[in-house]
Protein backbone atom coordinates (compact mmCIF):
# COMPACT_ATOMS: atom_id res chain seq x y z
CA UNK A 1 0.00 0.00 0.00
CA UNK A 2 2.98 2.29 -0.38
CA UNK A 3 2.13 5.56 -2.02
CA UNK A 4 -1.34 5.72 -0.43
CA UNK A 5 -1.86 8.99 1.33
CA UNK A 6 -3.71 9.11 4.61
CA UNK A 7 -6.70 10.57 2.76
CA UNK A 8 -6.43 7.71 0.30
CA UNK A 9 -7.09 5.32 3.14
CA UNK A 10 -10.12 7.20 4.39
CA UNK A 11 -13.68 7.40 3.17
CA UNK A 12 -16.16 10.00 4.37
CA UNK A 13 -19.52 8.76 5.59
CA UNK A 14 -22.63 10.94 5.37
CA UNK A 15 -24.30 10.26 8.70
CA UNK A 16 -23.01 8.58 11.84
CA UNK A 17 -23.74 7.69 15.43
CA UNK A 18 -21.75 6.05 18.21
CA UNK A 19 -18.29 5.59 19.64
CA UNK A 20 -15.03 5.30 17.72
CA UNK A 21 -14.44 1.62 16.99
CA UNK A 22 -11.68 -0.35 15.33
CA UNK A 23 -11.91 -3.94 14.14
CA UNK A 24 -11.92 -6.49 11.36
CA UNK A 25 -13.99 -5.60 8.33
CA UNK A 26 -16.65 -7.97 7.05
CA UNK A 27 -17.53 -6.74 3.59
CA UNK A 28 -20.78 -7.72 1.93
CA UNK A 29 -21.88 -7.01 -1.61
CA UNK A 30 -25.41 -7.84 -0.50
CA UNK A 31 -27.77 -5.97 1.84
CA UNK A 32 -28.29 -7.10 5.40
CA UNK A 33 -31.13 -7.72 7.82
CA UNK A 34 -30.60 -9.12 11.32
CA UNK A 35 -33.99 -10.81 10.94
CA UNK A 36 -33.84 -12.27 7.45
CA UNK A 37 -30.19 -13.19 7.23
CA UNK A 38 -28.85 -13.76 10.72
CA UNK A 39 -28.94 -16.61 13.23
CA UNK A 40 -29.49 -14.49 16.33
CA UNK A 41 -28.14 -17.14 18.66
CA UNK A 42 -24.73 -17.65 17.08
CA UNK A 43 -24.11 -14.46 15.08
CA UNK A 44 -23.72 -16.47 11.87
CA UNK A 45 -25.20 -15.22 8.62
CA UNK A 46 -27.59 -18.09 8.06
CA UNK A 47 -29.77 -17.31 5.07
CA UNK A 48 -28.95 -19.78 2.30
CA UNK A 49 -27.30 -18.00 -0.59
CA UNK A 50 -26.45 -14.76 1.23
CA UNK A 51 -23.13 -13.30 0.07
CA UNK A 52 -21.79 -13.73 3.64
CA UNK A 53 -23.43 -17.08 4.43
CA UNK A 54 -21.38 -18.83 7.12
CA UNK A 55 -19.56 -15.68 8.30
CA UNK A 56 -19.93 -14.50 11.90
CA UNK A 57 -20.67 -10.82 12.54
CA UNK A 58 -19.49 -10.83 16.18
CA UNK A 59 -17.07 -7.94 16.84
CA UNK A 60 -16.77 -7.21 13.12
CA UNK A 61 -17.27 -3.94 11.30
CA UNK A 62 -19.98 -4.93 8.88
CA UNK A 63 -19.86 -3.04 5.59
CA UNK A 64 -22.97 -3.56 3.51
CA UNK A 65 -24.65 -1.62 0.68
CA UNK A 66 -28.19 -1.62 2.05
CA UNK A 67 -30.65 -2.49 4.77
CA UNK A 68 -33.46 -4.93 4.14
CA UNK A 69 -37.06 -4.82 5.48
CA UNK A 70 -37.78 -5.64 9.05
CA UNK A 71 -39.13 -3.58 11.95
CA UNK A 72 -38.08 -6.37 14.28
CA UNK A 73 -34.46 -5.42 13.68
CA UNK A 74 -34.94 -2.67 16.25
CA UNK A 75 -35.10 -5.13 19.10
CA UNK A 76 -32.72 -7.57 17.41
CA UNK A 77 -29.69 -5.27 17.74
CA UNK A 78 -30.30 -4.83 21.48
CA UNK A 79 -30.80 -8.60 21.76
CA UNK A 80 -27.54 -9.52 20.00
CA UNK A 81 -25.66 -6.82 21.90
CA UNK A 82 -26.73 -8.41 25.20
CA UNK A 83 -25.94 -11.88 23.89
CA UNK A 84 -22.40 -10.66 23.12
CA UNK A 85 -22.61 -11.41 19.40
CA UNK A 86 -23.09 -7.90 18.01
CA UNK A 87 -20.75 -6.36 15.47
CA UNK A 88 -18.69 -3.33 16.53
CA UNK A 89 -20.25 -1.20 13.82
CA UNK A 90 -22.64 -1.22 10.90
CA UNK A 91 -21.45 0.70 7.85
CA UNK A 92 -24.36 1.03 5.41
CA UNK A 93 -24.49 2.48 1.92
CA UNK A 94 -28.17 3.21 2.36
CA UNK A 95 -30.06 2.19 5.44
CA UNK A 96 -33.52 2.65 6.88
CA UNK A 97 -34.64 4.21 10.18
CA UNK A 98 -35.11 0.83 11.87
CA UNK A 99 -31.41 0.06 11.66
CA UNK A 100 -30.55 3.50 13.02
CA UNK A 101 -33.13 3.37 15.82
CA UNK A 102 -32.01 -0.16 16.71
CA UNK A 103 -28.31 0.69 16.69
CA UNK A 104 -28.82 3.86 18.77
CA UNK A 105 -30.97 1.93 21.25
CA UNK A 106 -28.32 -0.79 21.52
CA UNK A 107 -25.40 1.66 21.56
CA UNK A 108 -23.79 0.18 18.44
CA UNK A 109 -21.90 2.47 16.08
CA UNK A 110 -23.68 2.99 12.75
CA UNK A 111 -23.03 5.04 9.62
CA UNK A 112 -24.84 5.68 6.36
CA UNK A 113 -23.65 6.78 2.95
CA UNK A 114 -20.08 7.09 1.68
CA UNK A 115 -18.05 9.52 -0.38
CA UNK A 116 -16.29 6.76 -2.33
CA UNK A 117 -16.90 3.09 -2.97
CA UNK A 118 -15.46 1.24 0.07
CA UNK A 119 -15.33 -1.99 -1.92
CA UNK A 120 -12.38 -0.63 -3.88
CA UNK A 121 -10.49 0.11 -0.66
CA UNK A 122 -11.53 -2.41 1.98
CA UNK A 123 -11.61 -6.20 1.91
CA UNK A 124 -12.94 -8.67 4.43
CA UNK A 125 -10.27 -9.23 7.10
CA UNK A 126 -8.75 -5.75 6.85
CA UNK A 127 -8.56 -3.72 10.05
CA UNK A 128 -10.66 -0.57 9.79
CA UNK A 129 -11.64 2.28 12.08
CA UNK A 130 -14.98 4.10 12.22
CA UNK A 131 -14.97 7.59 13.70
CA UNK A 132 -18.57 8.84 13.91
CA UNK A 133 -17.67 12.34 15.20
CA UNK A 134 -15.40 12.91 12.20
CA UNK A 135 -17.64 10.83 9.93
CA UNK A 136 -14.77 8.74 8.63
CA UNK A 137 -14.10 5.12 7.76
CA UNK A 138 -10.37 4.39 7.63
CA UNK A 139 -8.33 1.42 6.47
CA UNK A 140 -5.84 0.91 9.30
CA UNK A 141 -4.00 -2.06 7.87
CA UNK A 142 -4.45 -4.97 5.50
CA UNK A 143 -5.62 -8.28 6.89
CA UNK A 144 -3.58 -11.45 6.65
CA UNK A 145 -5.75 -13.16 4.10
Amino acid sequence: MSGRTKTGNTIRVNRAFGNIVEGEALVSTEGFSPRYDLDRWSGLISRPGHALEGHNIKDKILITPSAKGGIAAGWAFYDIQHKGIAPKAFVFGVTNPVMVQGAVFAGITITEGWSADPYALIRTGDIVRVNPARRTLTLVRRGNS
Partner: protein, 405 residues
Protein backbone atom coordinates in the same frame (compact mmCIF):
# COMPACT_ATOMS: atom_id res chain seq x y z
CA UNK B 1 -38.90 15.38 29.82
CA UNK B 2 -35.17 15.51 29.21
CA UNK B 3 -34.51 16.62 32.76
CA UNK B 4 -36.17 13.48 33.99
CA UNK B 5 -39.06 15.10 35.84
CA UNK B 6 -41.43 12.67 34.08
CA UNK B 7 -39.38 9.65 35.01
CA UNK B 8 -36.39 7.85 33.61
CA UNK B 9 -38.27 5.93 30.90
CA UNK B 10 -39.59 9.13 29.31
CA UNK B 11 -36.17 10.74 29.61
CA UNK B 12 -34.49 7.79 27.89
CA UNK B 13 -37.20 7.70 25.23
CA UNK B 14 -36.61 11.34 24.32
CA UNK B 15 -32.83 10.85 24.35
CA UNK B 16 -33.21 7.99 21.88
CA UNK B 17 -35.43 10.14 19.68
CA UNK B 18 -32.99 13.06 19.83
CA UNK B 19 -30.06 10.87 18.72
CA UNK B 20 -32.08 9.36 15.88
CA UNK B 21 -33.30 12.83 14.86
CA UNK B 22 -29.73 14.13 14.93
CA UNK B 23 -28.59 11.26 12.71
CA UNK B 24 -31.18 12.16 10.08
CA UNK B 25 -30.79 15.91 10.47
CA UNK B 26 -34.31 16.47 11.86
CA UNK B 27 -35.00 20.10 12.73
CA UNK B 28 -37.89 19.52 15.11
CA UNK B 29 -40.36 17.07 16.56
CA UNK B 30 -43.92 16.56 15.30
CA UNK B 31 -46.78 15.27 17.48
CA UNK B 32 -48.20 11.83 16.66
CA UNK B 33 -51.81 10.77 17.24
CA UNK B 34 -51.40 6.98 17.02
CA UNK B 35 -48.62 4.51 17.72
CA UNK B 36 -48.24 0.89 16.62
CA UNK B 37 -45.37 -1.10 18.09
CA UNK B 38 -43.74 -4.48 17.79
CA UNK B 39 -43.03 -6.07 21.11
CA UNK B 40 -42.95 -9.80 21.78
CA UNK B 41 -40.48 -12.19 23.34
CA UNK B 42 -39.28 -13.68 20.07
CA UNK B 43 -38.13 -10.36 18.66
CA UNK B 44 -37.19 -8.70 21.96
CA UNK B 45 -35.34 -11.46 23.71
CA UNK B 46 -34.63 -11.36 27.44
CA UNK B 47 -32.72 -8.09 27.17
CA UNK B 48 -35.67 -6.30 25.59
CA UNK B 49 -38.03 -7.78 28.15
CA UNK B 50 -35.85 -6.51 31.03
CA UNK B 51 -35.80 -3.08 29.43
CA UNK B 52 -39.59 -3.07 29.22
CA UNK B 53 -39.96 -4.25 32.81
CA UNK B 54 -37.77 -1.40 34.02
CA UNK B 55 -39.86 1.08 32.04
CA UNK B 56 -43.16 -0.32 33.39
CA UNK B 57 -41.74 -0.39 36.91
CA UNK B 58 -40.98 3.31 36.67
CA UNK B 59 -44.67 4.01 36.08
CA UNK B 60 -44.26 5.14 32.48
CA UNK B 61 -47.51 5.36 30.49
CA UNK B 62 -48.17 5.90 26.81
CA UNK B 63 -49.70 9.31 26.19
CA UNK B 64 -51.17 8.42 22.79
CA UNK B 65 -53.17 5.32 21.78
CA UNK B 66 -50.54 2.64 21.27
CA UNK B 67 -51.35 -0.79 19.81
CA UNK B 68 -49.20 -3.89 19.37
CA UNK B 69 -48.19 -5.80 16.29
CA UNK B 70 -48.55 -9.55 15.74
CA UNK B 71 -46.67 -11.63 18.31
CA UNK B 72 -44.98 -15.02 18.49
CA UNK B 73 -47.38 -17.08 20.60
CA UNK B 74 -51.07 -17.93 20.36
CA UNK B 75 -51.56 -19.25 23.89
CA UNK B 76 -54.26 -21.69 22.77
CA UNK B 77 -51.70 -23.50 20.58
CA UNK B 78 -48.55 -23.56 22.73
CA UNK B 79 -48.87 -27.25 23.51
CA UNK B 80 -49.92 -28.37 20.08
CA UNK B 81 -47.02 -26.52 18.48
CA UNK B 82 -44.68 -27.75 21.24
CA UNK B 83 -43.59 -24.20 21.96
CA UNK B 84 -41.42 -23.49 24.97
CA UNK B 85 -43.65 -23.06 28.06
CA UNK B 86 -40.99 -20.86 29.64
CA UNK B 87 -41.06 -18.49 26.69
CA UNK B 88 -44.88 -18.53 26.78
CA UNK B 89 -44.71 -17.46 30.42
CA UNK B 90 -42.32 -14.65 29.50
CA UNK B 91 -44.66 -13.57 26.70
CA UNK B 92 -47.51 -13.34 29.21
CA UNK B 93 -45.34 -11.27 31.56
CA UNK B 94 -44.39 -9.05 28.68
CA UNK B 95 -48.03 -8.49 27.70
CA UNK B 96 -48.86 -7.60 31.33
CA UNK B 97 -45.97 -5.17 31.31
CA UNK B 98 -47.18 -3.46 28.15
CA UNK B 99 -50.70 -3.19 29.54
CA UNK B 100 -49.34 -1.53 32.67
CA UNK B 101 -47.88 1.10 30.35
CA UNK B 102 -51.31 1.61 28.76
CA UNK B 103 -50.35 -0.23 25.59
CA UNK B 104 -53.36 -1.81 23.85
CA UNK B 105 -52.17 -5.34 23.14
CA UNK B 106 -54.26 -5.91 20.01
CA UNK B 107 -51.55 -8.11 18.44
CA UNK B 108 -52.25 -7.44 14.81
CA UNK B 109 -50.22 -6.41 11.79
CA UNK B 110 -53.37 -5.29 9.94
CA UNK B 111 -54.23 -2.44 12.31
CA UNK B 112 -54.86 -0.33 9.19
CA UNK B 113 -57.71 -2.67 8.23
CA UNK B 114 -59.10 -3.43 11.65
CA UNK B 115 -58.20 -0.77 14.23
CA UNK B 116 -57.23 2.68 13.02
CA UNK B 117 -57.30 4.49 9.68
CA UNK B 118 -55.36 7.77 9.89
CA UNK B 119 -56.34 10.61 7.56
CA UNK B 120 -54.37 12.52 4.94
CA UNK B 121 -51.41 14.31 6.50
CA UNK B 122 -51.84 12.77 9.97
CA UNK B 123 -48.54 11.99 11.70
CA UNK B 124 -48.34 8.53 13.27
CA UNK B 125 -45.53 6.30 14.55
CA UNK B 126 -46.07 2.78 13.26
CA UNK B 127 -44.00 -0.35 13.30
CA UNK B 128 -44.20 -3.36 11.03
CA UNK B 129 -43.09 -2.12 7.65
CA UNK B 130 -46.34 -3.28 6.02
CA UNK B 131 -48.38 -0.98 8.26
CA UNK B 132 -46.10 1.99 7.51
CA UNK B 133 -46.16 1.67 3.74
CA UNK B 134 -49.95 1.30 3.88
CA UNK B 135 -50.31 4.39 6.11
CA UNK B 136 -48.11 6.54 3.86
CA UNK B 137 -49.35 5.31 0.51
CA UNK B 138 -53.03 4.45 0.86
CA UNK B 139 -54.10 6.86 3.63
CA UNK B 140 -51.63 9.65 2.90
CA UNK B 141 -50.75 9.63 6.60
CA UNK B 142 -47.12 10.17 7.62
CA UNK B 143 -44.91 7.64 9.33
CA UNK B 144 -41.39 6.32 9.20
CA UNK B 145 -40.56 2.70 9.96
CA UNK B 146 -40.59 2.79 13.75
CA UNK B 147 -38.79 -0.11 15.36
CA UNK B 148 -40.16 -1.45 18.67
CA UNK B 149 -38.05 0.73 20.99
CA UNK B 150 -38.61 3.79 18.77
CA UNK B 151 -42.39 3.28 18.60
CA UNK B 152 -42.56 2.82 22.35
CA UNK B 153 -40.55 6.02 22.73
CA UNK B 154 -43.12 7.79 20.53
CA UNK B 155 -45.92 6.40 22.69
CA UNK B 156 -44.22 7.72 25.82
CA UNK B 157 -43.35 11.16 24.47
CA UNK B 158 -46.25 11.62 22.01
CA UNK B 159 -43.93 12.84 19.26
CA UNK B 160 -41.34 11.80 16.70
CA UNK B 161 -38.37 13.57 15.13
CA UNK B 162 -39.39 15.06 11.80
CA UNK B 163 -37.43 13.32 9.05
CA UNK B 164 -38.12 10.87 6.25
CA UNK B 165 -41.78 10.44 5.30
CA UNK B 166 -42.91 13.20 7.67
CA UNK B 167 -41.40 15.62 5.13
CA UNK B 168 -42.91 16.45 1.71
CA UNK B 169 -39.54 16.10 -0.06
CA UNK B 170 -39.34 12.36 0.62
CA UNK B 171 -42.94 11.61 -0.32
CA UNK B 172 -42.66 12.39 -4.02
CA UNK B 173 -42.24 9.59 -6.52
CA UNK B 174 -38.73 8.72 -7.62
CA UNK B 175 -39.37 6.17 -10.40
CA UNK B 176 -42.26 5.01 -12.54
CA UNK B 177 -43.64 1.50 -12.91
CA UNK B 178 -46.01 0.84 -15.81
CA UNK B 179 -48.19 -2.13 -15.09
CA UNK B 180 -48.95 -4.01 -18.29
CA UNK B 181 -50.01 -7.04 -16.40
CA UNK B 182 -53.15 -8.92 -15.40
CA UNK B 183 -53.44 -9.01 -11.65
CA UNK B 184 -55.95 -11.68 -10.71
CA UNK B 185 -54.81 -12.90 -7.33
CA UNK B 186 -53.35 -11.46 -4.12
CA UNK B 187 -50.12 -13.33 -4.85
CA UNK B 188 -49.81 -11.42 -8.15
CA UNK B 189 -49.80 -8.13 -6.24
CA UNK B 190 -47.11 -9.41 -3.91
CA UNK B 191 -45.11 -10.62 -6.90
CA UNK B 192 -45.19 -7.07 -8.33
CA UNK B 193 -43.81 -5.90 -4.99
CA UNK B 194 -41.03 -8.46 -5.28
CA UNK B 195 -40.13 -7.46 -8.85
CA UNK B 196 -40.10 -3.74 -8.07
CA UNK B 197 -38.67 -3.97 -4.56
CA UNK B 198 -35.80 -6.37 -5.28
CA UNK B 199 -34.26 -4.03 -7.82
CA UNK B 200 -34.59 -0.93 -5.64
CA UNK B 201 -33.49 -1.64 -2.09
CA UNK B 202 -33.80 1.89 -0.84
CA UNK B 203 -36.03 3.34 1.88
CA UNK B 204 -36.36 6.57 -0.07
CA UNK B 205 -37.19 4.98 -3.41
CA UNK B 206 -40.87 5.78 -4.05
CA UNK B 207 -42.39 3.92 -7.01
CA UNK B 208 -45.28 5.48 -8.90
CA UNK B 209 -47.53 2.84 -10.46
CA UNK B 210 -49.45 3.58 -13.62
CA UNK B 211 -51.65 1.47 -15.86
CA UNK B 212 -53.99 0.15 -13.18
CA UNK B 213 -56.98 -1.28 -14.99
CA UNK B 214 -59.42 -1.31 -12.07
CA UNK B 215 -59.76 -0.15 -8.48
CA UNK B 216 -57.59 -2.34 -6.29
CA UNK B 217 -58.97 -3.69 -3.01
CA UNK B 218 -57.45 -3.05 0.39
CA UNK B 219 -56.14 -6.63 0.52
CA UNK B 220 -54.43 -6.22 -2.85
CA UNK B 221 -52.75 -2.98 -1.79
CA UNK B 222 -51.79 -4.68 1.47
CA UNK B 223 -49.95 -7.47 -0.40
CA UNK B 224 -48.28 -5.00 -2.75
CA UNK B 225 -47.14 -2.71 0.07
CA UNK B 226 -45.96 -5.52 2.32
CA UNK B 227 -43.84 -6.96 -0.50
CA UNK B 228 -42.39 -3.58 -1.53
CA UNK B 229 -41.42 -2.93 2.08
CA UNK B 230 -40.01 -6.41 2.51
CA UNK B 231 -37.99 -6.75 -0.71
CA UNK B 232 -37.16 -3.08 -1.20
CA UNK B 233 -37.18 -1.69 2.35
CA UNK B 234 -39.56 0.90 0.88
CA UNK B 235 -41.90 3.04 2.95
CA UNK B 236 -44.14 4.55 0.31
CA UNK B 237 -45.62 4.12 -3.15
CA UNK B 238 -48.09 6.02 -5.30
CA UNK B 239 -50.69 4.66 -7.66
CA UNK B 240 -51.99 7.23 -10.10
CA UNK B 241 -55.72 7.74 -9.73
CA UNK B 242 -55.84 5.48 -6.67
CA UNK B 243 -53.75 6.81 -3.79
CA UNK B 244 -54.47 10.27 -2.32
CA UNK B 245 -51.19 11.98 -3.15
CA UNK B 246 -51.26 10.82 -6.77
CA UNK B 247 -54.34 12.30 -8.49
CA UNK B 248 -52.13 12.66 -11.58
CA UNK B 249 -48.73 11.40 -12.67
CA UNK B 250 -47.36 14.92 -12.37
CA UNK B 251 -48.65 15.32 -8.82
CA UNK B 252 -47.15 11.97 -7.80
CA UNK B 253 -43.69 13.12 -8.88
CA UNK B 254 -44.18 16.62 -7.40
CA UNK B 255 -42.50 18.31 -10.33
CA UNK B 256 -39.53 15.96 -10.46
CA UNK B 257 -38.66 13.71 -13.35
CA UNK B 258 -38.69 9.95 -12.76
CA UNK B 259 -35.16 8.57 -12.38
CA UNK B 260 -36.27 5.46 -14.21
CA UNK B 261 -39.30 4.09 -16.00
CA UNK B 262 -39.87 0.36 -15.86
CA UNK B 263 -42.61 -1.87 -17.16
CA UNK B 264 -43.92 -5.05 -15.57
CA UNK B 265 -45.54 -7.54 -17.94
CA UNK B 266 -47.35 -10.86 -17.62
CA UNK B 267 -44.10 -12.51 -18.65
CA UNK B 268 -42.29 -10.93 -15.69
CA UNK B 269 -45.01 -12.19 -13.39
CA UNK B 270 -44.82 -15.73 -14.73
CA UNK B 271 -41.04 -15.62 -14.34
CA UNK B 272 -41.52 -14.99 -10.62
CA UNK B 273 -43.69 -18.08 -10.19
CA UNK B 274 -41.39 -20.18 -12.37
CA UNK B 275 -38.41 -19.13 -10.26
CA UNK B 276 -39.36 -21.35 -7.32
CA UNK B 277 -38.15 -24.90 -7.07
CA UNK B 278 -39.39 -27.66 -4.75
CA UNK B 279 -35.87 -29.14 -4.67
CA UNK B 280 -37.59 -32.53 -4.78
CA UNK B 281 -38.71 -32.13 -1.20
CA UNK B 282 -42.32 -32.66 -0.07
CA UNK B 283 -44.88 -29.87 -0.30
CA UNK B 284 -46.22 -30.44 3.19
CA UNK B 285 -46.53 -26.92 4.59
CA UNK B 286 -48.82 -24.18 3.32
CA UNK B 287 -49.12 -20.86 5.15
CA UNK B 288 -51.42 -17.85 4.78
CA UNK B 289 -49.76 -15.20 6.93
CA UNK B 290 -47.52 -12.14 6.78
CA UNK B 291 -49.72 -10.06 6.85
CA UNK B 292 -52.55 -11.56 8.88
CA UNK B 293 -55.71 -12.43 6.95
CA UNK B 294 -58.56 -9.95 6.72
CA UNK B 295 -62.17 -11.08 7.08
CA UNK B 296 -62.47 -11.03 3.29
CA UNK B 297 -59.47 -13.31 2.92
CA UNK B 298 -60.93 -15.62 5.57
CA UNK B 299 -64.14 -15.80 3.55
CA UNK B 300 -62.21 -16.69 0.39
CA UNK B 301 -60.27 -19.41 2.22
CA UNK B 302 -63.49 -20.77 3.72
CA UNK B 303 -65.00 -21.03 0.24
CA UNK B 304 -61.90 -22.73 -1.17
CA UNK B 305 -61.58 -25.17 1.73
CA UNK B 306 -65.24 -26.04 2.34
CA UNK B 307 -65.73 -29.77 2.10
CA UNK B 308 -62.04 -30.48 1.47
CA UNK B 309 -59.34 -31.96 3.70
CA UNK B 310 -55.74 -31.00 4.14
CA UNK B 311 -53.64 -33.87 2.72
CA UNK B 312 -52.34 -36.50 5.13
CA UNK B 313 -48.91 -35.48 6.34
CA UNK B 314 -49.46 -31.87 5.26
CA UNK B 315 -50.22 -28.85 7.38
CA UNK B 316 -52.03 -25.63 6.58
CA UNK B 317 -51.64 -22.59 8.83
CA UNK B 318 -53.62 -19.36 8.68
CA UNK B 319 -52.93 -16.39 10.94
CA UNK B 320 -55.32 -13.56 11.68
CA UNK B 321 -56.26 -11.12 14.41
CA UNK B 322 -58.45 -11.86 17.38
CA UNK B 323 -61.19 -9.60 16.02
CA UNK B 324 -61.22 -11.14 12.55
CA UNK B 325 -61.17 -14.67 13.94
CA UNK B 326 -64.10 -13.88 16.18
CA UNK B 327 -66.12 -12.44 13.27
CA UNK B 328 -65.13 -15.37 11.05
CA UNK B 329 -66.49 -17.69 13.73
CA UNK B 330 -69.82 -15.86 13.90
CA UNK B 331 -70.09 -16.01 10.12
CA UNK B 332 -69.26 -19.71 9.90
CA UNK B 333 -66.06 -19.19 7.87
CA UNK B 334 -63.89 -20.45 10.69
CA UNK B 335 -65.76 -23.73 10.90
CA UNK B 336 -65.39 -24.38 7.14
CA UNK B 337 -61.68 -23.65 7.42
CA UNK B 338 -61.04 -25.69 10.57
CA UNK B 339 -63.05 -28.69 9.37
CA UNK B 340 -60.52 -29.06 6.58
CA UNK B 341 -57.83 -29.61 9.19
CA UNK B 342 -56.29 -26.15 8.75
CA UNK B 343 -55.02 -24.44 11.89
CA UNK B 344 -56.06 -20.85 12.46
CA UNK B 345 -53.74 -18.95 14.80
CA UNK B 346 -54.75 -15.58 16.24
CA UNK B 347 -52.63 -12.60 17.20
CA UNK B 348 -49.48 -14.02 15.64
CA UNK B 349 -47.46 -13.97 12.47
CA UNK B 350 -46.06 -17.26 11.22
CA UNK B 351 -42.53 -16.08 10.64
CA UNK B 352 -41.97 -14.93 14.21
CA UNK B 353 -43.55 -17.99 15.85
CA UNK B 354 -41.61 -18.92 18.94
CA UNK B 355 -39.59 -22.08 18.30
CA UNK B 356 -40.13 -22.03 14.53
CA UNK B 357 -36.61 -23.27 13.65
CA UNK B 358 -37.09 -26.26 15.97
CA UNK B 359 -40.61 -26.80 14.66
CA UNK B 360 -39.30 -26.87 11.10
CA UNK B 361 -36.81 -29.62 11.90
CA UNK B 362 -39.24 -31.63 14.04
CA UNK B 363 -42.03 -31.54 11.46
CA UNK B 364 -39.73 -32.28 8.54
CA UNK B 365 -40.60 -29.05 6.76
CA UNK B 366 -38.32 -27.91 4.01
CA UNK B 367 -40.64 -26.15 1.57
CA UNK B 368 -43.08 -23.47 2.62
CA UNK B 369 -45.84 -22.64 0.13
CA UNK B 370 -47.62 -19.31 0.51
CA UNK B 371 -49.55 -16.66 -1.40
CA UNK B 372 -47.62 -13.95 0.45
CA UNK B 373 -44.54 -12.68 -1.37
CA UNK B 374 -43.48 -11.02 1.88
CA UNK B 375 -43.55 -14.28 3.79
CA UNK B 376 -41.71 -16.00 0.95
CA UNK B 377 -38.94 -13.45 1.46
CA UNK B 378 -38.58 -13.06 5.18
CA UNK B 379 -38.66 -16.64 6.35
CA UNK B 380 -35.34 -17.41 4.67
CA UNK B 381 -33.37 -16.91 7.90
CA UNK B 382 -35.20 -19.96 9.26
CA UNK B 383 -33.88 -21.98 6.32
CA UNK B 384 -37.20 -22.63 4.64
CA UNK B 385 -37.24 -23.00 0.89
CA UNK B 386 -40.20 -20.84 -0.04
CA UNK B 387 -42.58 -21.14 -2.96
CA UNK B 388 -44.99 -18.38 -3.97
CA UNK B 389 -48.25 -19.60 -5.49
CA UNK B 390 -51.67 -18.08 -6.13
CA UNK B 391 -54.28 -18.44 -3.39
CA UNK B 392 -56.32 -21.27 -4.94
CA UNK B 393 -53.12 -23.08 -5.95
CA UNK B 394 -51.90 -22.88 -2.34
CA UNK B 395 -55.15 -24.49 -1.16
CA UNK B 396 -54.83 -27.20 -3.84
CA UNK B 397 -51.26 -27.93 -2.74
CA UNK B 398 -52.41 -28.13 0.89
CA UNK B 399 -55.13 -30.63 -0.04
CA UNK B 400 -53.13 -32.76 -2.49
CA UNK B 401 -49.48 -32.34 -1.49
CA UNK B 402 -48.69 -31.74 -5.16
CA UNK B 403 -47.66 -28.61 -7.03
CA UNK B 404 -50.11 -27.61 -9.68
CA UNK B 405 -47.52 -26.25 -12.11
Amino acid sequence: MLRGEQGRAVQEALQLQLEVGRFFGAKRFVPVSNVHMMGDIEVMGDAGKSFLERAAQSGAKCRQPTTTNARCIDFAHVEHLKQDSNEARKEKELIACLRRMDVITADTCINYQTLYQPHLGEHVAWGDTGTVIYANSVFGARSNFEAGPAALAAGLTGRVPEYGFHLDEHRRGTFQVNLKVDLNDLADWGAIGKIVGSGHQDYYAVPVFTGIKRTPTADELKQLGAALASYGSMGMFHMVGVTPEAPTLKAAFGGRKPKEVMTVSNRDLEKVYAGYDTQNNPLNLVVFSGPQQSLFEMKTLATLLKGRKVAKGSQLFITTSNGVKSAAKDLGYLQDIEQSGAIVLEGVCFYILQNLPQMRVREGWSNLVTNSAKLANIIGAHKFNTILRRTAECVDIACTGRDVR
